[in-house]
């Protein structure tokens, strides 16, 4: 799967003039237009408070836009039922073990725990927490909690994955490993991923397209296409291509800050 075939993919989601004003008068988003195609890996990069989380919540249908249109190109025009969401905080149930936390999406679908067990263990293995299945969230480090939350989002194998700075709290080493794991999954499962991050480097390394956002009011400043082919590895991180793309995203971000 490469950038070359991207324009051929059918559209999945179209945002047209999506705006959001919160009850206290904060204009979090003013007129966002974007198209996400099936199988895309798109990153949203922008300074804190520019409305990245807000946009992701609107896409997930957790809050509505105050203006504009969120259109899914599904048969009935509504959001696909099977969608994975990783919150900015781990958002685990403190009263449930790691295993039960990961089990939640399946439990809510009425699947029995015993039947789900292999699937649960596989999800935990993927994030390197198989040994902690019976631990409780408070017994885990911040990064481990975040990985549990990731395992929970992946356990249903959702075709659409929305991630809000999932690795921001992790150390560089773990983060790069999970970045690679995520990319491998995306390539093999042909998921659509919308990935929010603070990190220019991470966005360039992961995505096919980076949507650069600016604040006050939140809007999309521009788009940087990352043409490098997948799979990407350590070699890509050292390539001129990579550095150039990072410079391009960085320049787009600065545009939003300049008066």
């Amino acid at each position: 799967m490469t950038e070359a075939d991207a324009p051929l993919r059918p559209p999945l989601l179209t945002l047209a003039g999506v705006a959001r004003t919160y009850g206290n008068g904060t204009v979090a988003l003013a007129g966002v237009d974007a198209t996400i195609r099936q199988g895309d890996f798109v990153s949203l990069v922008g300074p804190s408070g520019c409305g990245k989380s807000t946009l992701l919540r609107i896409v997930a249908g957790l809050i509505g836009p105050s203006a504009g249109d969120v259109h899914w190109h599904t048969t009935d025009g509504s959001r696909p039922a099977d969608i994975g969401f990783v919150f900015q905080d781990a958002t685990l149930m403190p009263w449930a073990s790691v295993l039960d936390n990961v089990f939640l999406p399946l439990k809510l679908r009425g699947i029995a725990r015993d039947k789900a067990r292999p699937q649960l263990m596989e999800a935990l293995e993927r994030v390197g927490l198989a040994d902690f299945a019976n631990a409780y969230p408070r017994e885990l480090s911040g990064g481990m909690k975040m990985r549990v939350s990731l395992a929970r989002a992946l356990v249903t194998q959702p075709p659409v994955l929305l991630m809000d700075e999932p690795f921001a709290a992790l150390d560089e080493f773990t983060r790069e490993k999970l970045d690679d794991d995520l990319l491998a999954l995306w390539r093999s499962q042909r998921w659509t991923v919308i990935f929010v991050t603070h990190s220019i480097y991470e966005s360039v390394y992961l995505s096919e397209r980076v949507l650069v956002m600016g604040a006050r009011p939140g809007r999309i400043l521009g788009e940087v296409a990352i043409g490098a082919p997948h799979p990407r590895g350590p070699a890509f991180r050292r390539s001129h291509d990579y550095v150039d793309h990072c410079a391009a995203v960085s320049a787009a971000l600065r545009e939003g800050v300049a008066p």
Partner: protein, 268 residues
């Protein structure tokens, strides 16, 4: 870290209060004996013990009556309080309509409505009247704590449940009730004690010779100036209150120790 460091303070938690109790009773005994205090003013602990043994059957019977009423009122308060709180959590409108009346129940002193309830229920069914009054006192803390607890579920988790298409019932059972658990247990600890107080107060008000609980034993001993027996009943009552409190603390510990900040033991 060696084992003694951890073990010692735990044993001390039992030993120290017991020692304090023994010293206190010893001083009391000495004070009464050396000061020649008459038993109808302040009986010595040994005399209270003797009275307890002598009146063992009647006191135990009364203890059982009080315990029975208290527990029944407490259980009904739990069922009613949690049930109504769940109803409130499902419909803001019902909560708006009914909550003020739940408050009325709470702010009206038991002593003030006890006579009324007794008349309605009938003096031939004092135990039922006492039960109703004790329930009224015990009910509100559970209702208000559960209501607060059901509302306090993490909003991101709520969103997650919505995202996965959870039903109302699933949100209640899997998210709201577990989130509310610490609040419910805190409410139960308050209500357990209140149920006992309610039962005793109600019986005092009813106390016209038909009551058979510990409160009535105290009234009766007072009429007869049998102060050692009065103290014996009083001790049983305190013991019952302490037992209720510690059983509930224990239940709370069992249910919360793995996850809630209030119950987990911190390591330094």
């Amino acid at each position: 870290m060696n084992g003694e460091d951890k073990g010692l303070p735990r044993a001390m938690r039992v030993v120290v209060p017991v020692l304090v109790g023994i010293v206190f009773l010893g001083m009391w005994e000495a004070f009464v004996r050396l000061g020649n205090v008459p038993p109808f003013v302040l009986p010595a602990p040994s005399l209270i013990w003797t009275s307890l043994v002598l009146n063992f059957d009647s006191l135990m019977g009364s203890l059982w009556v009080t315990l029975r009423v208290t527990l029944a009122a407490f259980l009904l308060a739990i069922v009613g309080g949690i049930g109504l709180a769940i109803l409130f959590s499902q419909s803001r409108r019902i909560e708006m309509a009914l909550f003020p009346y739940a408050v009325v129940l709470q702010v009206t002193p038991v002593v003030a409505i006890a006579p009324l309830v007794l008349i309605w229920v009938g003096y031939d069914r004092v135990e039922l009247a006492v039960l109703i009054l004790a329930w009224m006192v015990a009910f509100f803390p559970i209702l208000s704590n559960t209501t607060l607890g059901l509302r306090s579920a993490d909003h991101n988790l709520r969103d997650l449940f919505r995202l996965y298409g959870a039903s109302r019932w699933q949100v209640l059972a899997e998210l709201q009730l577990p989130s509310a658990m610490p609040y419910i247990l805190a409410g139960m600890k308050i209500s357990g004690g209140l149920a006992l107080i309610g039962a005793v107060v109600a019986e005092f008000v009813a106390g016209s010779g038909t009551g058979t609980g510990l409160a009535w034993r105290i009234v009766e001993a007072g009429y007869r100036l049998d102060i050692p027996r009065m103290f014996a009943a009083l001790f049983l009552l305190s013991g019952l209150g302490i037992a209720i409190f510690f059983s509930l603390s224990w239940v709370e510990h069992l249910l919360l120790r793995r996850w809630h900040e209030s119950a987990v033991r911190r390591e330094f």
